[in-house]
């Protein structure tokens, strides 16, 4: 599974019958630092993710499993919306990578 940011969506009227009713999102894979990492990918949405959200997605044959017993031709599917993620930095302090949730500077109020 990989982290990604949802940057857009795709509309396709003519498509495989098993894709009907499934939303298609454009994902930009990201590194743990939040920076872009690699090419964009179009993924199916199984969790109701929206543009601007950080998500994680699965690649390969398993991408069809969230839609069981349906069998859409999927090679990438968003399977979770990320609230936050934490990384251990070199000086061992925890850092929250989602800037919106990052704790405020403790010095600020003093």
């Amino acid at each position: 599974m990989q982290l990604a940011r949802v940057i857009g969506d795709v509309v396709a009227t003519i498509k495989d019958a098993n894709l009907t009713g499934i939303r298609l999102l454009i994902l930009q894979p990201i590194a743990a630092s939040g920076d872009d990492a690699g090419r964009t990918v179009v993924a199916l949405d199984s969790v109701g993710a929206g543009v601007g959200e950080n998500v994680f997605f699965v690649r390969g044959r398993e991408a069809a499993f969230p839609f069981y017993p349906g069998e859409p031709p999927a090679d990438a599917t968003v399977i979770g919306i990320v609230d936050r993620w934490d990384m251990e930095t070199q000086n061992s302090e925890q850092r929250t990578m989602n800037p919106e949730l990052r704790p405020q500077n403790p010095e600020a109020g003093r």
Partner: protein, 91 residues
């Protein structure tokens, strides 16, 4: 899935029996803004896509899940014709 633009067709008389009567297209992967990236690939067309159209290509073993491709020796299938792409990358 990746976005790609159809840039050509492939004709092959001698091929695997399970590929008979499938349309083979040459596609060029593009980014969401339409800029080409990467090299060409040959994909089986399941939606009657045409030259110049932007399509959705599913690759890997999932390509066999496209309609009519069960048990076919295929690793890229065109499964949708793109109408619109909306990108709102706020970062």
């Amino acid at each position: 899935m990746i976005l790609a633009r159809i840039v050509g067709t492939v004709v092959a008389t001698r091929k695997d029996d399970r590929l008979v009567s499938n349309k083979l297209m040459i596609a060029r992967p593009v980014d969401p803004h339409g800029k080409v990236e990467g090299s060409y690939l040959v994909a089986v067309d399941t939606v009657d896509a045409g030259f110049g159209e932007t399509v959705l290509i599913v690759s890997g073993s999932s390509a066999r899940m496209a309609s009519g491709l069960k048990d076919c020796p295929v690793d890229a299938a065109i499964v949708g014709i793109v109408d619109t792409i909306q990108v709102r990358d706020g970062k």
